[in-house]
Symmetry: C2
Subunit: 181 residues, 2 copies
DNA sequence: CAAATCATGTAATGTGTTACATGATTCG
DNA sequence: CGAATCATGTAACACATTACATGATTTG
């Protein structure tokens, strides 16, 4: 259900097409959904049906028509009400931790290789995140408050991956001491 | 699909019933699934069909019969193979970050109240986690390696919530400077 | 010339949660 | 005496992902 509010939020900044929303959500890390057509276009139908957005068809030459969605007053009210809803705790889905739980069943060399690959994966992800944040930071924003919030959100995400990287590195450093042959 | 391997892993320690597995998974934070009957019992049917576990019905007086599942050799092989699979990156589903993204649309007093409630929620969660880890630490474990892995996993989870708590607190401290009225 | 971009949407499938159903026993 | 525990399972629904479908244009 939350993806509807994420879309509503994005539309509160500016009117967008389904295609635009799809890209924004698919490329984002905070908006953790896949951003599949199915999800986006169906959510927009729902939002439109509930009167939270209006739809304007914008024909184009040489390209399929765009459907531009604009948030309504009721939409803004719904968004504000949702923002003030007590937030759920973050959910950390961490498959590597589960694999590691049975790590004593494989030889420690293979385990270290696994962790090395994982460390590299996290490192690359962190770089991409920083790159993305740098691009984001260029986008101008209305108020100082909005800018501060944006940076705080990006910062939290970046910190998470930094901590993850530090954790794997320490893990690898200690691995042979505890599971070495 | 991963829940099958989580179950397989739990069965690699000792034979368990579906009910046991359900409790273990539902109470765990690392095994992030809800541990609903549907999921567990269906997964066990699949594992049994694929020959990765065997089933033994254990009748009881006064209580429904238990079905005890035991991992097979093929099951152990499958588990080991999966453990060495390149792990996916962790997925952080953080609704509070999304709500915060539109935080400039509400008054800063309400936003601080929101964050205060969230901070408290995180604090309680962290306490419960530490409590759970203390109980877990009592459970004896075969090898030093297994113990170390268990602590590393619990430590990562605890660190995540500690960082979250620190982050919210700093956020609240800075809130009035940037979004104050 | 193949692949990506633009732009919409549907279908099939997979995954996950809540609620329902049963029924004895034990605990507060 | 109501609620929780033990123990299995099914049904309905919600949520998500991948793949399919169309078709012109642009880029490598």
């Amino acid at each position: 259900m939350t993806i509807r509010y994420a879309i509503l939020g994005l539309l509160s900044r500016e009117p967008l097409s389904g295609y635009d929303l799809k890209k924004l959500i698919a490329d984002s890390d905070v908006f953790y959904w896949s951003g599949s057509n199915n999800q986006i276009y169906r959510a927009l139908v729902d939002l439109h049906r509930d009167g939270l957005v209006t739809q304007e068809v914008q024909p184009q030459e040489d390209r399929p028509a765009r459907k531009i969605y604009t948030i309504t007053g009721a939409g803004r009210d719904a968004l504000r009400a949702w923002v003030l809803t007590p937030p759920d705790l973050p959910q950390l889905r961490h498959p590597a931790l589960i694999q590691l739980a049975w790590g004593d069943q494989v030889e420690s060399g293979a385990l270290d290789a696994l962790l090395a690959a994982y460390e590299e994966e996290v490192r690359v992800k962190l770089l991409m995140l920083q790159e993305g944040a740098r691009r984001e930071a260029q986008v101008p924003v209305r108020t100082g408050c909005a800018r501060w919030l944006r940076d705080a959100i990006a910062g939290r995400l970046r910190a998470f991956y930094e901590h993850e990287l530090a954790w794997v590195r320490e893990l690898r450093a200690e691995l042979t001491d505890f599971c070495g042959e």
